[in-house]
Amino acid sequence: MSRIRLTQEGVVLLLAVVMCVVFSVALPNFLTTGNIVALVRSVSILGILGLGMGLVVIARGIDLTMIATMVVSVSWVLSLTTNAGMGLFPALLLGLALVVVIGLVNGILIAYATIPAIFTTLAMGLVVYGIGRGWLFQVDVQNTPEGSALFEFLGRATIFGVPMLIVAFLALAGVVWAALRWTRFGRFVYAMGDNPAASRIAGLPVRPMIVAQHVITGLIAFVAGLIMAATSSGMSTRVFNSTMIYDVLLVVVLGGIGLSGGRGGVRNILVGTLLVGVLLNGMTIMDVPYIEQNLIKAIILLCAIIVDSIINPRDEQTAQQEQGDI
């Protein structure tokens, strides 16, 4: 089994490299500095969101609220600072509190009311967006406050020539990697994805863990939103209506994190991010119309899910048959 998954990861990486080469040769604009920056920017946001999504998917959950959380929390923060004249710091605290509340509601509904994660988070996404659009801010696009040090730093600063945005993505990837690999929390995530019933009987705090995971995805979405606002000097609520959540899922599934849980890690997210980023960027340069782009992405996502369900079947019974009980 591990051999197959390794090659899956390898195939994705190879595919990304091949596409890079093809695009560089075929598209004169692909290898320009401006384009690489654009590519990396779009990819980093997706990658950061993918880190959060990957975490819940490994634990056999899913969080479709992430984009709504990102859009609404950051738009609210921006609206509070620019329109209501609040200081940036208290506004950030309020945004943080909102994100935590969203995560708690998601987690409690899934863990304690035992509503399937996919429906809970789908509906919560709509609720969060509705509340945000209805009460928290009035206009579609919120601009970052003029001359704010934080957004200036996130958007323009570089460390050894590397934009802050990529540094943030890599740093966050490092944190998630370490948490998954070295901490008790990480072990619990894998255990829950592998076998929820066994986790429960072994005495793992299964329900608090689910709540914690959704709070963490909320926090990650908040960070991703702040960076997004910094790099494009604002946050548009249209992001919520875009296909971004599917791009995030594409990153996770294409990278090789099985939807059946318990498998994969940060490496898979990095590989998935790279491939999706190159793909989206190449299509944009080739001037593939938006609708066709979405169709292509959708087909790739579908194929990735099909391949995933063949390699990592969710049904324990079929998994055993593969193994052949003697």
Binding site: W182, R184, A202, L204, G262, I326
Partner: protein, 499 residues
């Protein structure tokens, strides 16, 4: 031509490991053929090949004298081979009649017509089952009847049973035997797998014994006796050696502190007003047939069962009244439950032996951010593979790749590292090879010697008698009798357990 089915040099391997190898097997018309063997001998694989679940890697399968390809269980059924699995394949929410004709419905499916048809059909088989009853309301014996009726309806000429009597009460067993004989009179051939040698000797015409994926013996039943079968199964005669000897020469341990005391515990119709106590430093054997509520009672105690139907009663653990709603607080307080179904709720299949065992210690910790020590994992793995004699070629091997016995040992180790004060073993040796049974029993005795309260749930009487210092018998959701292990016999226990 009297041969219905023939296997020639049949081989099936999984990833290069043969489960059965060069098996020759013949089955005559109207024959009852028992397949016996230890766990892992290849019985299930052989029957699953005949039922179309697996396809042969090499060799030939002749059905009715013609080479046959059984692509799937549905395909096998079309050709006249039906398999009744250990776990029934019925849809619980449908009625008996709907289940019999499942997959055969007409476009306009009139229920009334279906019931009349089913009634006639069931009566023609002498089955007294209400066609309008929901399958979920039937007992194990009746469910089996419905499965058989379904097979007959599909005009099966060969029926395969995997452990058909495991879940039946003695009375149901008697009816089942008559039924099998009646099917034989109608010209249907029967293959059944069993662990109960007496049943095979009583019921079958011919016996095939498998050992390590090969045919160890195949002969008319009249030429077999118990000793010869056991000899063929294990390659040596150990009749009575496994359980008998240790049970006879043993002095039961005394009573330690009272650890658990249960009063008037009730839950739905499964656990009914039961009361009993458990003491430290001894092994309490809990015996009961299927439906006796023995597992459910223990799952309530350890918080494993989601108690939707809790109907009251008190549980005291070390004099403190407790009511666990999830296993976590129970585990932290020192009550550990070792499941009977290790695949579904026992081990973590993507993880290695050391990761599995370490999760036991991680689970009882509090700080989620504490760093996991790989050195500790290695040391735990080494300590427990030695102590329980877990055999793995590679210490980093995934648990799913181990044999049933070794998997069970990993699950036991994972629970033992949680420093339990009371440990509950539910069918600790189900699906475990003979060698591992001895080692698991030795370990259970060791635990009791260190002063832990040990509960062993088992439906296998020799195991209960060999291990227990004190025996509790459950019947219809209640502990009905307590016995001293010195005076208990299989007959006395069984007498208390049946109703």
């Amino acid at each position: 031509m009297t041969i219905l089915l023939e296997l020639k040099k049949a081989t099936k391997d999984f990833r290069g490991v043969p489960a059965i190898k060069d098996v020759d097997f013949t089955l005559e018309y109207g024959e009852i053929h028992a397949i016996l063997g230890e766990n892992g001998a290849g019985k299930s694989t052989l029957t699953k090949i005949l039922a179309g679940v697996y396809q042969l890697s090499a060799g030939e399968l002749l059905f009715d004298g013609k080479p046959a390809l059984l692509a799937s269980p549905a395909d096998a059924l079309r050709q006249g081979i039906a398999m009744v699995f250990q776990e029934t394949n019925l849809v619980p929410a449908m009625t008996v009649a709907q289940n019999i004709y499942l997959g055969d419905e007409k476009l306009f499916n009139r229920l009334r017509g279906l019931y009349i048809q089913a009634q006639r059909f069931l009566l023609s088989l002498n089955f007294y089952v209400d066609p309008m009853a929901l399958v979920s309301s039937l007992g194990a014996g009746k469910k089996q009847m419905v499965e058989i009726a379904r097979a007959v309806h599909h005009k099966a000429r060969l029926m395969i049973f995997d452990e058909p009597t495991a879940t039946l009460t003695p009375e149901e067993k008697f009816h089942f035997f008559n039924l099998i004989r009646r099917l034989k009179r109608d010209g249907i051939s029967i293959i059944f797998i069993s662990h109960a040698l007496e049943e095979a000797l009583e019921l079958s015409d011919r016996i095939t014994v498998l050992r390590d994926g090969k045919v160890a013996a195949s002969d008319l039943t009249s030429n077999f006796d118990r000793d010869r079968i056991i000899q063929a199964m294990v390659g040596r005669s150990l009749s009575g050696e496994l359980y008998g000897a240790e049970a006879k020469n043993r002095v039961p341990r005394g009573y330690g502190e009272k650890v658990l005391s249960i009063q008037n515990l009730s839950m739905g119709t499964v656990v009914r007003n039961t009361s009993f106590s458990v003491f430290a430093g001894q092994i309490t054997g809990l015996f009961g047939l299927v439906g006796s509520g023995r597992t459910e009672t223990m799952k309530i105690v350890s918080g494993v069962l989601k108690r939707d139907f809790f109907h009251g009663g008190t549980i005291r653990f070390y004099e403190k009244q407790v009511r666990y709603r999830t296993p976590r607080p129970a585990v932290i307080d020192g009550i550990v439950y070792v499941t009977e179904d290790r695949k579904v709720e026992g081990f973590f299949e993507t993880m290695s032996i050391s990761e599995n065992i370490q999760l036991g210690t991680l689970a009882i910790g509090v700080n989620p951010f504490s760093v996991v020590s790989l050195a500790e994992a290695r040391q735990l793995a080494k300590q427990w593979t030695d102590r329980l004699a877990i055999k793995a070629i590679d210490p980093d091997a995934k648990v799913i790749e181990l044999s049933g016995g070794n998997q069970q040992k990993v699950v036991i180790a994972k629970s033992a590292v949680q420093k339990p004060k009371m440990i509950i073993f539910d069918e600790p040796t189900r699906g475990v090879d003979v060698g591992s049974i001895v080692e698991i029993h030795r370990f259970i005795n060791e635990l009791a010697n260190t002063g832990i309260a040990v509960i062993v749930i088992s439906s296998y009487l020799p195991e209960i008698l060999a291990l227990s210092d004190r025996i509790l018998v459950a019947r219809q959701g209640r502990i009905v009798e307590e016995m001293d292990s010195r005076t208990a016999t299989e007959q006395r226990i069984m007498y208390a357990a049946v109703h």
